[in-house]
Amino acid sequence: MQEKDREALALAAGLAKAWKDHRADVEEAIASVTRLRAGFARPSDPAAEPTPSYRLPHTATEAGR
């Protein structure tokens, strides 16, 4: 990734100040995310649910009774 791309990524994430004052830390964060993204096996089942699954809060389910 070119420096201008890394800068664009940082600015898109709202990290203009960090890019200006702590560029090495942002660069390291970009590299770290690339490693983490590749660090685990993606589920192959399209219907695999995340944990925790979405549930209505207790109060909402109680109100519907």
Partner: protein, 464 residues
């Protein structure tokens, strides 16, 4: 009589119940110990000696009239400084939070206050419970009582240092990627990450909502069980509360290991993240001792440690970035450099990656659940190395992530770290983990207590 500051929580509680020790005497001796050793350890961010003495006097008077409310009555308990104590700042060890005074007690503090506990101070942490030991913060990092040149683990670093150094009999920590069990391992303590939702998180500064746990840190298994009994319970105001009542977690401590099947997750430390020879040897010796005490110990396979670690990191960083977003954008220079470097990745992880990590989490939980259909408990490494020197940032960075604690933040199962050896080179404690099915804390304590009785480590103390 034995110096009160050296007593375990259970020993002190028994003496208080027998009117042979008053909470005032106990606290006064703990405060004297704090005065003597704190300058070398930096465990405290804020010492609340006067207020704690008022609490101890009130406890003394009530116990004289009516007897103790329970085993926590008059017992000093330290609080990691991300846990709210009404009327005092919760600094999170950060410049960004120096002036944030808590208006209410955290739910877990409310419970302990009702049980009669005394609160002598707020304890050091890694900034916002993430990162590592830093020297560019308003407070110095806590140090390891076994050797102050080394770190005590973290992020509940002050809790670990204070309890190991006999400044306090017990403290609370929090655990999102291992932060109760890490200092417990390096300080020779018992540190429990309870089942997710068993202890309320309300009033605790969040790091990552779906991974955060509050846990007890003590010098003995019985103390840990007693403290958890006062901490656990339903909280309708914590959306993650499991809404389960507390139990008597000491009820099975005497039962021993006979008949229990323990799955030893050897691949975590043998091939996934190879442990130092001393740690590997200590784990094998612990397995041998557990078997000698009557457990059936067999090897068991879980998904690779790297999968758990990456999933934990993506979820933790993303949820933490949601908490810290405004500060990371507007005041990035007000964090310690290490904290900033730990938090920034969360601003750059895509929504897709976060959901993929949560979907992988489902299968990781299922894999651990499947293991518990074959065995009653798991045994595995905690840290793969002894604590490094605190002034060696490269070694701190290298060793902090070499651990097997994050799997059980991802899955939510209860896990306890207990001392299982001592490194010959540095004289520092080594730790191991036992892990149980959800809400089986009593079973976990049963096995940990049996190991504690059989092993020699309980008798050891830091050479302060």
């Amino acid at each position: 009589m034995t110096a009160p500051h050296t007593l375990s929580l259970a020993e002190a509680a028994a003496l208080i119940a027998a009117r042979r020790l008053s909470p005032v005497e106990l606290l006064a001796d703990c405060l004297a110990r704090i005065e003597a050793v704190e300058p070398r350890l930096n465990a405290f961010i804020r010492l609340l000696a006067g207020e704690a003495m008022e609490q101890a006097r009130a406890a003394e008077a009530e116990i004289a009239r009516n007897g103790p409310r329970g085993p926590l009555h008059g017992i000093p308990v330290g609080l990691k400084d991300i846990i709210d104590l009404a009327g005092h700042p919760t600094t999170c060890h950060s410049k960004l939070q120096l002036d944030r005074v808590a208006t209410e007690d955290a739910a877990v503090v409310q419970r302990l206050r009702e049980a009669g506990a005394v609160f002598p101070g707020k304890l050091a942490t890694h900034e916002f419970a993430i990162g590592g030991p830093c020297f560019d913060l308003p407070f110095p990092p806590a140090r390891n009582p076994w050797n102050p040149a080394h770190h005590p683990g973290g992020s509940s670093s002050g809790s670990g240092a204070a309890v190991a150094a006999r400044m306090l009999p017990a403290a609370l920590g929090t655990d999102t990627g291992g932060s109760v069990r890490h200092p417990a391992s390096h300080c020779g303590l018992v540190g429990l990450k309870p089942t997710y939702g068993l202890v309320s998180r309300r009033g605790v500064f969040p790091l990552a909502f779906t991974l955060d746990h509050v846990g007890p840190m003590t010098r003995t298994v019985r103390d840990n069980a007693l403290l958890l009994g006062a901490m656990a319970g339903p909280d309708p105001l914590d959306p993650g509360s499991a809404m389960r009542g507390p139990e008597d977690y000491t009820r099975d401590l005497h039962k021993g290991l006979k008949g229990l099947r323990i799955g030893f997750v050897r691949h975590f430390h043998e091939t996934d993240t190879p442990a130092s020879p001393e740690v590997a040897a200590a784990l094998e010796e612990a397995a041998r001792l557990l078997a000698a005490e009557g457990a059936e110990v067999r090897s068991i396979t879980l998904p690779p440690l790297a999968d758990f670690a990456a999933v934990n990191r993506i979820i933790l960083c993303t949820e933490a970035a949601a908490v810290h977003e405004r500060w990371l954008r507007e005041r990035p220079g007000d964090y310690a450099q290490l904290t900033r470097r730990r938090l920034l990745p969360g601003m750059l992880i895509s929504g897709t990656d976060y959901v993929q990590a949560q979907r992988r989490r489902t299968s990781l939980v299922a894999a651990v659940e499947a293991a518990f259909r074959e065995v009653d408990l798991l045994l595995c490494a905690s840290s793969m190395d002894p604590a490094s020197r605190i002034d060696d940032p490269e070694e701190v960075e290298r060793t902090y992530s070499r651990q097997a604690r994050t799997p059980f933040n991802v899955t939510g199962h209860p896990a306890v770290s207990i001392m299982c050896g001592i490194s010959r080179a540095e004289g520092l404690p080594l730790g191991m983990q036992l892990v149980a099915p959800a809400f089986a804390e009593a079973l976990l304590y049963r096995a940990a207590a049996a190991y504690e009785r059989a092993a020699p480590w309980r008798q050891m103390a830091p050479p302060l």
